[in-house]
Symmetry: C2
Subunit: 105 residues, 2 copies
């Protein structure tokens, strides 16, 4: 991952509404959630929700698929993992003792 894409991803997450959306999708799993259901659960008006979903999509953190008149959004776990790997890369001056294993997602 290059720094520009990392900044894009972090910028996308650095906003309360978008972070809430992303976490909800991370927890929802691959099946995803329809845009309307997201808006309802989080109390976001349609225009605002759409704006934020576009931002998260542009950053590749979420993806969408059409199902009839619904648009289903889901988290991109691979992109999330890439971002985390970028942040933690070559950490701790190579002192592996400080690096306990952690669940991937």
């Amino acid at each position: 991952m290059k720094i520009k894409s990392a900044v894009e991803a972090l910028s996308a997450l650095a906003q309360e509404t978008r972070l809430a959306i992303f976490r909800l999708l991370v927890q929802a799993g691959r099946e995803g959630v329809a845009a309307g259901a997201l808006g309802e659960q989080l109390g976001i008006p349609p225009a605002t929700l759409s704006f934020h979903l576009k931002e998260l999509t542009r950053a590749r953190l979420i993806k969408s698929r059409a199902e009839g008149r619904y648009v289903i959004y889901s988290a991109s776990y691979t992109e999330m993992d890439k971002l985390i790997a970028y942040l933690t890369e070559h950490c701790c001056a190579g002192d592996a003792a400080q690096c306990a294993p952690r669940k991937s997602c």
Copy 2:
């Protein structure tokens, strides 16, 4: 971790200069790096560097200690780990099969 602190941390990282500073400190380990050395390695003028270091400090992602006339900055691994845990919390709809272990830092 609460959403407000997560947004603060993500905002702090969502900027090219600050992300470069943070990654450098993550890789430097607990020993840390003096402000001036950071500025020199990254080519950032003092005022700008100081502004960004303050932002990262406010977000608790880095900490500093004085050593003579130097100020030594270092990454806060615990805060980094908290942020990552917050992003990945309850992921994948509980489907552990998708969650491979990964190094913590």
